[in-house]
Amino acid sequence: MKKRMTTLILSGILSLAMLAGCGNAQDGGSTSGQGSAGSSPQEAAGSADSQETAGTGASEGSETLTVWCWDPAYNINALKIAESIYQKDHPDFRLEIIETNGEEINTKMATATTSGVFDVLPDILLFDDSGFQSSVTSYPEVFADLTDYGFNYEEFSPGKVGFSTVDGRHYGIPFDSGTAIACYRKDILEQAGYTIADFTDITWNEWMEKAKVVLEKTGCPLLNGLSSYNQMTIMMQSAGGSFFDKDGNPNLVDNEILREVVEVYTEMVKEGVYTEETGWDTYIGGMNTGRIAGAMNGCWIMASLQAAEEQSGLWEITNLPKLDGIASATNYASQGGSSWAVTSQCSNPQLAVDFFKATFGGSMELYEQILETGAISTWIPAADSPKYEEPVAFFNNQPVFSLITTYSASVPECYVGVYFRNARSDVANAITNIIYSGGDIDSELQAAQDTLIFEMENK
């Protein structure tokens, strides 16, 4: 027994030494399959490989680009289709897609910047639109300026391109649409004596009256959401509003649009026609279980709605209500959506841009194929595809894709700002205080603005 233990420990020390040897061997690039306890040949080869590809990007005439992005069913799927389309004319082209979620991308980008180790970055990254500008401003070393590579930004909706533009320079390639839609349960509206037409091209005041009737007759709130975050952003954007003025200074106090949004939102919650949820699961669960009679979010919300298969045919979509008494108010907005970025580590940005030009900026085939995952194009010509006209059974045979593309064209452009996320969370806190602690709008917005100024000064 004792002997066995001794052997075990001694062999352990031995294998540790071998491990250390392996680590060194990887340096020189010669990996042998001897790594017993520690590294399998596959792993060793993989890591050496990654250091090469991630480190030097598409160097030495190689046509491989590494990409960090997330969501196999959506973004990664789209990339793979784009890869195969581009490969038709460029047989040597290859994408190495490493699934990395948005939060992880942010962590790694921050680590790279603070530690000065940039060679770990891939060639291409995916960013959520709401965080794109702030990432470019906070980590300028990470991004390649794509303005002069000849990508045709004219063919995309201006609202979308605006998300990845900083000081007039382009840092992103627009990808999917986050055009906001209002979805309602047809059957529940009918019980209250309404149809989808009653919720189309209306104002928030009209919406409120009808929502109260629906709640009274069916017991279902019309909307829910993760506190006020997405809902208020959508409402703000529908009127072209921003948390900042044109120079980027916080503008929460004397902001006519924001004030109207806060008033409408507060009323919705107080009347019970909007339920604030504590987590994403209860948010989606509300719609899937029929507890909530509608949804208002970026069009990507359709994927979650369709998970409740037995509700097929019961949903319909329409445009958003618009704010009352605001001159710039519209029935359209955008929420979510993402854009690609090429990093400063990419040694062949031209290859990356050419790839995007031939796919996300010029391939009808790509956009037709990814439509079934719910990824809707922001590339304007794609809307002419007959595929976009097809009725969707889940949404009571409405041609939802072409509807959404028409909405996209009317989304007002608005200034997002580098500190958008800070501003959003400060305003959300203010709203929470107004609703639950009886704070008044003026002082709460003033407090939010003070917090925001403090955050901006100390960043």
Partner: protein, 273 residues
């Protein structure tokens, strides 16, 4: 009669304990149930096991490459546990058995490092590892864990109960110092090793932040990293997610239950007689 009385007297205590254990077991129960249900049903809050387990499994293995991630996690955790137990137990033994004037000051410094949170050393550590080309490697993963101060302390504390007379007797009999450690100390300290093993394995298995920083490759990523990717999409399949979570808890559960008895002994400082 008296037996019944005894049972009756114990009843209130048992009921309280049962209620508490229900609270503890419920999350695990919920994960198991969720793993067998469709995503929509999970969101409905169902508590009845469903029939969708096979379907969830199919989606999981078709969307995600789970085997490399699982293999990596097992590999990293086992190697970390093994190496760190060897190193830390030798250190703990050394601190207790050998005498040196600077010993206690060194130990104090070591203990102080426990107060430094990982987030504070994260960036310099990353820089160092990037400089040594240890990113995306097993060595890079285990190295920061090898000398675990908590383990050293645990071994030092528990070494106090190890009779010094044995060491002296062995020395007189001509046994080498290494021989004493491996032949006498290690077998006696089995409960402590078991406790250390449980803790280190769990920490290594659940180590997320460091792995997230240094692993940037599908071939080297860990299972917790894979799980964290699953909620990143526009649509989260909760059945699939919970199945992955369930799989991820299994190894720690197995290790814990296998070593449970020794774990308690080890933590309380018992020495195998």
């Amino acid at each position: 009669m008296s037996r019944n009385k005894k049972l009756l007297r114990r009843l209130p205590k048992n009921i309280v304990l049962m209620v508490i254990s229900l609270f503890c077991v419920f999350p695990l129960f919920w994960v198991v149930v969720a793993a067998t249900n469709k995503s929509v049903d999970v969101l409905r809050g169902t508590l009845i096991p469903g029939t969708n387990l096979a379907e969830n499994w199919k989606t999981l293995v078709s969307t995600y490459n789970i085997w490399p991630a699982l293999t990596n996690s097992v590999k990293y955790s086992v190697v970390t546990t093994f190496v760190s137990l060897v190193v830390s137990s030798i250190a703990g033994y050394g601190f207790e058995v050998y005498h040196d004037r600077g010993k206690d000051s060194v130990f104090k410094v070591l203990m102080l490092t426990m107060m430094v949170p990982f987030t504070a050393t994260m960036i310099p550590l990353y820089q160092m590892y990037a400089g040594m080309h240890l990113l995306d490697t097993t060595v890079g993963f285990i190295l920061p864990e090898v000398s675990a101060v908590f383990l050293i302390m645990l071994f030092r504390q528990n070494s106090r109960a190890f009779p010094k007379e044995i060491i002296e007797a062995a020395r007189i009999d001509g046994e080498s110092e290494l021989g004493i450690f491996f032949k006498m100390y290690v077998p006696t300290m089995k409960p402590t090793y078991a406790a250390g093993m449980t803790i280190t394995f769990m920490n290594a298995w659940n180590n997320f932040m460091w792995a997230k920083l240094i692993m940037s490759n599908d071939a080297t990523q860990t299972f917790p990293m894979l799980i964290s990717n699953m909620t990143a999409g526009h649509y989260t399949d909760y059945g699939e997610l919970m199945l992955a979570v369930l799989i991820s808890t299994l190894p720690t559960v197995i290790v814990f239950f296998a070593l449970q008895k020794s774990f308690v002994q080890g933590m309380t400082g018992a020495v195998k007689g």
